[in-house]
């Protein structure tokens, strides 16, 4: 058998690596900022800046052209996981959470942000019904929302049709269930009753 010399096999065409990846172990994250979060970002920039740079030892900048927040590791970074934490932190802020609430993401490991839309829960809500559902979620003066937040130790952001929940896994589930019940149309008093029962159970667990 003849060992034929390898014919010219087609090499897979890999595009040239981008500059960032070439450098040794520098991770970069980019988080885009929508227009309505632009001014809050400007106002709270220092509050965002300080913990990332001082505690997490990362580099952060805002790219004005792309309207993106860029995070990067540097020599001082001790833990590579900090980048992810910082990215989550900034993302939470961009979602609509307050800086102090989002800070909990940096401090605690097992906090997450869960986002979903109302039409995921009930797709048939349209127009007025949808608005009423949103109103039910908020309650008068935001009462219902705050109640859920206080009982389940989470933070909820109602951004028109999107809902973001920040907290530990269990608490997110409890809050999500309560919100879904509200969307589906149960009155707040009922939801409170269920919440109370569940919360008393959950307080032990945590």
């Amino acid at each position: 058998m003849e060992v034929s010399e390898e014919t010219a096999v087609d090499r897979p065409a890999f595009p040239p690596i981008k500059r960032e990846k070439l450098e040794n172990g520098v991770e970069i994250r980019k988080i885009s900022v929508p227009a309505h979060r632009y001014s809050p970002l400007k106002e709270n920039w220092m509050k965002l800046f300080t913990p990332i740079v001082e505690h997490l030892h990362l580099q952060i900048r805002f790219n004005l052209k792309n309207r993106q927040v860029e995070l990067r590791t540097c020599k001082d970074t001790k833990d590579i996981a900090n980048v992810q934490k910082a990215a989550d932190f900034v993302k939470a802020f961009i979602c609509g959470f307050e800086v102090e609430d989002a800070l909990a993401l940096i401090r605690l490991d097992d906090l997450f942000v869960d986002s979903f839309e109302i039409k995921d829960v009930k797709s048939s809500l349209k127009g007025d019904h949808l608005n009423r559902a949103i109103g039910r979620l908020a309650g008068k003066g935001g009462r219902t929302k705050f109640t859920i937040e206080n009982v389940t130790k989470t933070r909820i952001v109602l951004a028109d049709q999107k809902i973001h929940i920040l907290g530990s896994y269990q608490n997110i589930q409890i809050a999500k269930r309560a919100i879904c019940n509200l969307i589906l149309g149960s009155p707040p008093s009922k939801v409170y009753g269920n919440l109370r029962a569940v919360a008393s159970r959950s307080s032990d667990r945590f």
Partner: protein, 636 residues
């Protein structure tokens, strides 16, 4: 030569007269203290000059002495020389006597006078003039001297009394002096009232009654005429009366004056002092006064005293017997009192109502001080919010969970607190040796705090012992401990030795406790069953009412059949009505199609009328039904 003869004769005559005069004077009238004067005037063989020198020898010293005497007379200390006319006719002898005594003096004075005049008059005329002058002058001077002496001789008592020590008091006025009054009183009491018939002594306290019309004015003189200033009110009134009376009397005779009233009477006395106001009325009439005087002459001092006492006694008795003044009569009306008499009275009576506080500057000042002090001390009387105390642990169940406000802590802080709490519980668990120990309620316990608590406990125990344990203990507050209804086996034992389905929560904490004894279905009596039924019905009624209320609200919001609730309700009612029979549905079992519109409408009308009849019958039935009332309504 004739002239010379005449002059020589005149000279010798003159000399002779002078010698006679000088000799007689020297013999009879010698001045005291006069020395060095010749006993005789030697005119023979002496020159004019020498004679003159002799005279001078006599005159010079006597002149001095006489001047001294005159000066003494003129500047008399207590003797007031008042030169008033006394008839020279009366006693020539007296005058002569006195004149002789003082001739010497007058002589020298006259001589002096004569020597003072020489420039004016001739020497020839001087004799006669001088002598005349001497006589008249001497006489006049004599009179004055005599009168003066008389005055001195008069008893000096009065003068001393009047000029002596008079006590001065506050009450003294222009016309009234207490001291004078007292002196007068003493005098009166000391002396017996003796009526002097001498014309010289005058009874000053007798009203001077003159028959002359001229003196009427003088008698009727008033206070105003004598003194300036205002008259006291009472006297004014009296004066008015007097004036009226005077006007009335007019040109009446003097006799009327004698019948003077009490008001009229002591005008002069009023000026001084009105000692015996009423009594002195007696003294108006001279007759009566005379009588009195004669009586009093006969009475002794003891009798007088007795009289006075009796008068006083009489007065007191009259007062006692007379009707009492209005102040001492029980209840008096305004008619029984004089006008505005209460204003002058000091009244005491109890005030039943509480007086309104008089707001003066002092009270406001004190109030402001209090306010300022309170502000400084920050001791305000603010109302403190009262919190209803919680006695029932089930209350906490309701309060625990729901906080409808935005949480003040951020999520990070909340988790932080949670974490710390967990840590502490873990620490506590780690410390406790066995699970059977009583767990501490306080999560974290400093050593200091523990020590403090121990010491406080000992102190309180001692205090309780001191007061013999008679204290009110603190009200028991419910402890809050969250216990979840887990199976107890999970919490207590590590290794499940036995299986038990006991829960941590007691049954009454799971379910509300029922009152009374629990009875099974077979055990229930009729009353129990009915009671349960009533309870059930009342609960149903409440629910029904609630539902109706919500439906009304919905109807208000969306009237008509706009909302699905209304639609569903209507359908439901229709079905119910059909079941009852109040409504009969128009059964549409028309096989044949109506040919014409009239036929169609006719058919429709028939069907409708049939259904209406059915409905009416049903209504009648229901009305009858509704009138039936339940027995419970009639229950008392």
């Amino acid at each position: 030569m004739a002239l010379n003869d005449e002059s020589a004769a005149a000279n010798t005559k003159f000399k002779a007269i002078t010698k006679d005069l000088y000799d007689s004077v020297n013999r009879n009238f010698t001045l005291q203290g006069l020395t060095g004067s010749l006993p005789e005037l030697y005119t023979e063989g002496f020159d004019e000059e020498q004679i003159w020198q002799q005279l001078e020898l006599h005159n010079e010293p006597s002149f001095k002495i006489l001047m001294k005497n005159v000066a003494k007379l003129l500047t008399g200390k207590d003797k007031k020389l008042s030169f008033y006319k006394v008839e020279v006719q009366t006693d020539d002898e007296e005058q002569e006597e006195n004149g002789l005594e003082n001739e010497e003096d007058k002589d020298s004075v006259a001589s002096d006078l004569s020597f003072q005049l020489p420039s004016d008059s001739d020497n020839e005329n001087e004799d006669g003039d001088d002598s005349d002058l001497d006589e008249t002058d001497a006489l006049k001077f004599d009179e004055y001297k005599m009168l003066d002496e008389e005055r001195e001789e008069r008893p000096k008592k009065n003068r001393e009394q009047s000029m002596g020590k008079i006590r001065k008091t506050e009450v003294d006025d222009e016309f009234f002096k207490v001291g004078e009054m007292e002196k007068f009183l003493e005098k009166e009491e000391a002396e017996k009232p003796v009526k002097d018939d001498d014309e010289d002594s005058i009874d000053y306290f007798e009203d001077v009654l003159s028959d002359d019309d001229e003196n009427e004015a003088a008698v009727k003189a008033k206070y105003k005429d004598f003194f300036r200033g205002s008259i006291p009110a009472g006297d004014q009134q009296q004066e008015m009366d007097e004036e009226d009376e005077d006007l009335e009397e007019g040109d009446e005779e003097m006799e009327d004056e004698e019948e003077l009233d009490d008001d009229d009477e002591p005008r002069e006395k009023r000026v001084k002092f009105d000692l015996n106001g009423s009594d002195s009325s007696d003294e108006d009439e001279s007759d009566t006064s005379n009588d009195n005087l004669t009586k009093s002459e006969g009475k002794s001092s003891y009798e007088l005293r007795q009289e006075r006492l009796k008068a006083k006694i009489q007065e007191l008795e009259d007062e006692a017997v007379a009707p009492k003044p209005w102040q001492l009569m029980g209840e008096t009306k305004a008619e029984l009192r004089p006008d505005n008499a209460l204003l002058e009275e000091d009244l005491f009576f109890d005030h039943t109502t509480r007086q309104a506080p008089v707001i003066t500057e002092e009270t406001t000042k004190t109030l402001e001080e209090i306010i300022r002090q309170r502000i400084k001390d920050q001791a305000f009387d603010d109302v403190e919010r009262k919190i209803k105390p919680v006695y029932d642990p089930t209350e906490f169940k309701k309060k625990l969970v729901l906080d409808q406000e935005k949480s003040k802590f951020s999520l990070a802080e909340i988790y932080e607190q949670e974490f710390l709490k967990q840590q502490e519980t873990q620490k506590a668990e780690a410390k406790s040796s066995s699970l059977a120990d009583v767990p501490n309620d306080e999560a974290s316990e400093d050593q200091n705090r523990a020590a403090l608590r121990k010491r406080m406990a000992t102190v309180f125990a001692k205090l309780d012992a001191l007061c013999n344990f008679s204290y009110t203990p603190r009200a028991p507050e419910p402890d809050v401990k969250i216990v979840s209804n887990m199976p107890s086996i999970v919490m207590e034992e590590i290794a499940p030795v036995t299986v038990s389905d006991a829960n941590l929560l007691a049954p009454q904490e799971v379910q509300d406790p029922t009152r009374g004894v629990l009875k099974g279905t077979t055990e229930k009596a009729k009353t129990d069953r009915l009671r349960e039924r009533r309870k059930k019905k009342s609960a149903q009624r409440v629910r029904h009412k609630e539902r109706e209320r919500t439906e009304k609200a919905v109807d208000k919001a969306n009237p008509g059949l706009g909302n699905k609730h209304a639609k569903a309700r209507v359908l439901h009612n229709l079905q119910k009505a059909e079941k009852e029979g109040t409504v009969s549905l128009i059964k549409d079992n028309r096989t044949k199609a109506t040919k014409s519109s009239t036929a169609f409408f006719k058919q429709l009308q028939e069907d409708v009328s049939a259904s209406v009849d059915a409905v009416r019958q049903g209504k009648q039935k229901t009305n009858l039904k509704n009138k039936r009332s339940t027995g419970s309504q009639f229950k008392l």
